[in-house]
């Protein structure tokens, strides 16, 4: 069973971060929610492993501090 990679795995993290923010350029909240969802769905399909997705979700639930 594959495990969620939790060590840094991207050579250019600032580029990826910039792409994620840039995807929402000039979007209202509704459109942003939808684009995030589309991204998650396509990445989940690419990962193709329910166990990895579950681990990522567990990590999110554990880590999120709630509304800031």
């Amino acid at each position: 069973m594959a495990s969620l990679i939790t060590h840094p795995n991207l050579p250019h993290p600032d580029d990826i971060y910039g792409l994620l923010i840039g995807m929402h350029h000039e979007c209202d909240d509704g459109e942003s929610h939808k684009r995030n969802a589309m991204l998650i769905l396509s990445l989940a399909n690419h990962i193709g492993d329910e166990a990895v997705v579950r681990q990522a979700i567990a990590l999110v639930k554990q880590t999120s501090k709630g509304q800031s």
């Binding site: 929610h33 939808k34 969802a37 769905l41």
Partner: protein, 515 residues
Amino acid sequence: MPRSDFSEIPRYKSFPVVPTVTSGAHHPVVIVGGGPVGLTAALDLGQRGHEVVLLNQFDFIPGGSKAICFAKRTLDIWNRLGVAQLMIEKGVVWNVGKVFRGDRKEPIFEFDMLAVKDQEMPGFINLQQYYAEEYLLQAIDALPNVTIRWGHEVCAIDPDKRQLTVETDQGDYTMSADWILACDGSKSPVRNMMNLDFAGRVFEDNFLIADVKFQVERPSERWFWFDPPWGGASALLHKQPDNVWRLDFQLGWDIDREAAIKPENVAPYVEGMIGTETPYEEEWYSVYTFQCRRMERFVHDHVVFVGDSAHLVSPFGARGCNGGVADADNLVWKLDAVLKGAAGPELIESYNDEAITMADENILNSTRSTDFMTPKSTVSKAFRDAVLDLAEDQEFARPFVNSGRLSTAISFPQSPLCTADRDIWEKGIPPGSPIIDAPLRNSWLLQNLDGHWALLAGRPIDNSPLPVVVLDHHMARERYDLSNGGAYLIRPDQYVAARWKHFDLKDLGETAWQA
């Protein structure tokens, strides 16, 4: 106590009210409720030779198409009982479902309900519920040991004494039974009289059923729309016999339900879907909401809840009536064994386990479908719309599209009646799953199973204490992975109890059959 007033209910066919009877009679089995679930249980028990009394509060088969989609598993069960051919001849056979979005002509998702071909029964038929009830009643009519009491309404129950008080137009009477099957529907009077729980969720949305008659040639397929161009959040089109079409429209939560079924308010939806050129007439209009609920337990000593009385789901998925027929099928062979003294009453507890597993899977699927169709939050709506946007062009997103996951037979691998595999199997059908039909040389596999325990094998088995069905067709042997010997033990309800790659008669000692 006066009988309830059923005068508002449309009637398909009336029957003479059965006169009241003398108090104090005792029966092995009393079935409360004469819908498809109660009738299936009565027919199955009757064919096994038991004396059955069925109490029907109505003296008629209600009109209104109601449940219209009967799944392959239900047809397999009804075929065993000898009534499926009539249903299929009258019904509209279909296997394919298509999902559309907006005014886009090409579907965004398609599915096939008969994924495994070469089986006797089709994936689905559509048939008005009253026809299904009529055919079941015709078959019951041939059984002198099954009595239908039309116009007999249960008004009190004493579960400890297993006693019912029954109201008729001529007064009431009492009766007792070894077993009472509550097949009395979603509002189950028996459940209410016993003050039993029925927990779950209500979904805040209204749907309009417009069953209308018109003459147009269209394929026999289930068509579903998200964001249909004529308005509303979703819509469904399904063909029934007699040129009746089931049109179903999602209306939203804050609506005037009485106004919604007025013909002038239904018309824009119907005309939006079928066009203004096609003349149509009203068959049955109804607005419904739905809930997903189940009882905590289905077996309460000698009172057993079967079908909608025990569990409720949304209609998207056709899991209500089909789930109820599956319950009846699961229960009856066990009750047969208990009534004949071949098993103790604890066997009925396995109905509780297995039927709850089935109900939970139906509720899970139904809840997921309704969450997709009626998103409850900004984010769940964003995910739903994301799927629909992606599905137009991206193949990977299409399997996420959920317009109802339609009823299929449900497995219960954890059931205590299953014997775990001793061998490594890569194919075939595991214990706790229903078997799949397959062609034999001169018949269909399921035709050789008559509702009793049996063995399936690739070649004859000497001295078997059970009937052996030899898979004499390569397709059947491949489907069961029996090309190199071995055997399957099949339960009376056509589920796998155990299987062996190298079978010895002694192996039966470890199974639920022996127990």
